[in-house]
């Protein structure tokens, strides 16, 4: 059974479509990274999954239960951190923990204490006085302490410094691995996701462009770097459409290809770049894949990149 299943989901704000006939399956136990440019619909998708918004079309289920029919017991097994999560600013952190703990049969006070220490959060400090980063840590603490089977996080690393982020990622990896949690998180921080995720989804303009395991994705997308004997501008406007995120710097040129046949790529390079002296091909990083996909989906950007 998949932890998250969404089929043909559509959601619109008035006449503006935010999600369009979207399918998403997050396997049980996966660490799924949801990527997408700003306004692509990531936050809306997570809210729809949590039942905070009702889709105009389609079906969503979490842990095998329709999201609109989640019972209190079902919700107790799901952790959620919203982007800019609203927390009661008048409470002290320990009061918030005391408020939430009775709701969860699985609330782990020791884990909460451990996370509090790890995040450097003071239990007696009022939540309203916390910095943005500390606020997200507090929200994460509240989402993780019940040891949820499924954890949904919307931009959880916002406002965190690199050390804490690294710590959190490690913590998540450890917990998710040992506890068998399923984690679905959206983030702009692709570097961290690369370490964390074993599944990746790319959401663009409300449509899921791709959703696949990280290792498959890495194999599929490759970064090609071409060194030339001298700068050559004669190919301008003649590049194949499969070459994504094309960048040129003097006599060097790089681009990303997907599902590429190495022989075919070499042949294309020789044909279009007669001055090519060396060709290096490696697996693309997640950031390179993200940028390539994002640019491909943005009209006008391709030409700009080529120039």
């Amino acid at each position: 059974m998949a932890a998250v299943e969404a089929y043909h989901v559509s959601y619109a704000y008035g006449r503006v479509g935010a999600l369009r006939d979207l399918d998403l399956v997050v396997p049980d136990g996966a660490l799924y990274a949801l990527l997408g440019p700003n306004g692509s619909g990531k936050t809306t998708l997570l809210q729809v999954l949590m039942g905070l918004r009702r889709p105009q079309r389609g079906h969503v289920s979490l842990l095998g239960v329709e999201s609109t029919a989640l019972t209190v017991r079902d919700r107790a097994a799901i952790g959620y951190v919203a982007e800019g999560q609203s927390l009661p600013g008048w409470m002290r952190l320990e009061q918030l923990e005391a408020y939430l703990a009775p709701l969860y049969p699985t609330w782990d006070a020791a884990l909460a204490r451990n996370l509090r220490e790890r995040f450097g959060l003071e239990p007696k400090k009022k939540i309203g006085t916390l910095s943005r980063g500390a606020l997200m840590k507090a929200a994460l603490l509240c989402a993780l302490a019940p040891r949820p089977r499924l954890l949904l996080m919307d931009e959880p690393f916002t406002g965190m410094d690199a050390l804490v982020k690294d710590d959190l990622v490690r913590g998540l990896l450890e917990s998710a691995g040992s506890e068998g949690w399923t984690v679905l998180l959206s983030s702009h921080d692709i570097g961290e996701l690369e370490l964390l995720a074993d599944w990746v989804g790319f959401l663009d303009a409300g449509e899921m462009r791709l959703s696949e395991p990280m290792d498959v994705l890495r194999q599929r997308f490759q970064r090609v770097e071409v060194a030339m004997s001298q700068p050559d501008a004669t190919f301008e406007g003649l590049l194949p459409g499969e070459w994504l995120s094309v960048e040129r710097s003097g006599a060097r040129m790089s681009f990303v290809v997907s599902n590429a046949d190495r022989v075919q790529v070499d042949r294309e390079i020789v044909a279009r770049l007669p001055n090519a002296t060396r060709i290096d091909v490696r697996d693309a990083t997640l950031r390179e894949i993200f940028v390539a996909l994002a640019r491909r989906s943005t009209p006008g950007v391709r030409q700009e990149a080529a120039a």
Binding site: Q47, M50, G51, L52, R53, R54, T68, V72, R73, R75, A76, I78, Y80, A82, E83, G84, Q85, S86, L87, P88, W90, M91, Y99, L100, P102, L103, Y104
Partner: protein, 510 residues
């Protein structure tokens, strides 16, 4: 955690979260209660401000409680946690009911207890106040639930109120016609509104959706509640039955302007009543007039023409007392007009055969509430009235008494029956009595101030007034010497309805 456990858990959290505004609210409620109980004659402006604060802070507190866990904010903490939506809603409603509504209601009951009214009347007034305040809280809770923050709540609620007032103003809907249409539905609006409001809230708390349809219902609901508040309480139609002690009075009418019907465009009718005791006041209210024409046709004018005072009796004073300089022996007679259209006026002037008027006759009896020694500071509480003499001056050639009253009085007669009776039932009447000399002087209310007031909550019809009572009534009035006043007492009289008779007098023309 059980459902009930969650209700308690959330309510306790809300109490702690909203402790400041709830604390201020309770202080204001206590102040308002203390003012009503201990200082009923406090300056009206200050008192009204305190009472206004009760409602404003109550509304703000209710909105704060609801919005502390917004049902429409997708980033609200509770929405993604294992809370029962119904427990969340119940906790909010329970808190609003107990703290915002019930606390001042207890203050209201305590204040009513100081007016010497019956338990039934306390229950009646308290229920009136509870309904009116609930009508304020209903749109408050609904709008607060649908808006994302306090500022949006304030803007939306004020917008609905302004829109409603604008609608009434621009559409030139006379408030009285609104009153007629909705006055009978005030209780219904409260009950139905509460049911619809809770159903609406239950849906919003479950779905977190506030689309246009939800807003339409919410705005309609809020506007209905506000209209029900604006039009006021319907008249309490406690119509006393025909008293067995009186034989039915004989009512006769006569048209007095036969030659000028077409010009005046109305029929002027004189009415007289026989067989009714002189000790009672009488009022005649018209309902429908049927004009019988010579060709056998009829003109029916089905509307209320107001009421006519037929007789105001002498005030009851001590047996064997005599009035100084006053003769009240007049018969039960009066006049009223039946308006006609131009066309009807011409036809009626030519063809009128008989006039039949359907209406009712109400008899009202004066009753002494109490008597006060004639000195500044003297006070009494009786039958819903607290009265205090603020100043007495009988050294001048026109002795005056400044009297302050603070009263809750249940309207026992339909307003329609008393519309023209110079506020006979609304206002008490006064006279001075010197029991030693067995003499009495009527007092004339020359200037009065004050108006509708509240105790702790809006709703109960409370009147605070100050009256300057004078002995002189024209040049020929008799004014006793100073020593007469030293032994005199101020007599306060209330008017009690005795009976209402349906009557249908006919005047046949020769």
């Amino acid at each position: 955690m059980t459902w009930l456990g969650q209700v308690r858990h959330i309510a306790w959290k809300d109490v702690r979260q909203s402790r400041w505004i709830l604390g201020i609210y309770i202080v204001v409620v206590i102040t308002a209660t203390a003012r009503s109980v201990a200082f009923p004659f406090a300056a009206n402006g200050v008192a009204t401000s305190v009472l206004f604060l009760v409602v404003v802070i109550g509304i703000a507190a209710a909105a704060t409680i609801v919005q502390s866990d917004s049902p429409v904010r997708s980033d609200a903490l509770w929405a993604s946690r294992p809370f029962y939506p119904s427990a969340m809603l119940s906790a909010k409603l329970l808190l609003v009911l107990i703290v915002i509504l019930a606390v001042p209601l207890l203050g209201e009951i305590a204040a009513l207890g100081t007016f010497d009214v019956s338990r039934a009347d306390v229950a009646f007034f308290a229920s009136q106040s509870a309904v009116v305040y609930a009508l304020w809280l209903l749109p408050t809770v609904v709008v607060a639930a649908l808006t994302r923050d306090f500022r949006s709540f304030v803007v939306t609620l004020l917008g609905i109120i302004a829109g409603l007032l604008l609608l009434v103003g621009i559409a030139l809907v006379p408030p009285s016609s609104i009153a007629i249409r909705v006055s009978f539905t005030r209780g219904g609006v409260t009950l139905l509104g509460t049911v619809i409001g809770i159903a609406l809230l239950a849906r919003v708390y479950t779905t977190h959706v506030a689309h246009a349809g939800v807003w339409a219902v919410a705005v309609t609901l809020s506007a209905s509640a506000l209209v029900a508040i604006l039009v006021g309480a319907p008249p309490v139609t406690v119509v006393p039955g025909a008293a067995a002690i009186h034989a039915p009075p004989q009512v006769q009418i006569q048209v007095t302007n036969l030659d000028q019907i077409a010009r005046w465009r109305q029929l002027q009718v004189a009415i007289s009543v026989e067989n009714a005791p002189d000790s009672l006041a009488a009022g005649f209210s018209t309902d429908t007039a049927i004009l019988h024409l010579r060709d056998g046709s009829m003109v029916r004018i089905a509307q209320t023409f107001g009421a006519t005072t037929l007789h105001i009796p002498d005030l009851p004073v001590h047996p064997d007392s005599r009035w100084l300089g006053r003769d009240m022996k007049t018969g039960m007679i009066g006049n009223f007009g039946i308006p006609l259209t131009d066309r009807d006026a011409r036809t009626v002037a030519r063809e009128l055969l008989a006039v039949e008027v359907i209406g009712s006759l109400t008899l009202i009896q004066p009753r002494v509430i109490g008597e006060l020694p004639l000195r500044a500071g003297a006070s009494m509480t009786r039958d819903g009235m607290r009265a205090r003499i603020a100043r007495v001056d009988y050294s001048s050639d026109n002795p005056t008494i400044d009297l302050e009253t603070f009263s809750v009085q249940r309207e026992a007669v339909p307003r329609i029956a008393l519309g023209n009776m110079n506020g006979l039932v609304d206002a008490p009447r006064f006279s001075l009595v010197n029991f030693t000399r067995r003499e009495a002087i009527p007092l004339y209310n020359r200037s009065s101030s004050g108006g509708g007031d509240w105790l702790v909550l809006p709703g109960a019809p409370v009147q605070q007034s100050g009256a300057r009572l004078e002995v002189k009534n024209g040049a020929g009035s008799m004014v006793p010497e100073d020593t007469w006043f030293r032994d005199a007492k101020l007599l306060i009289v209330q008017w009690i309805p005795v009976a209402t008779y349906p009557v249908r007098p006919v005047a046949t023309l020769r």
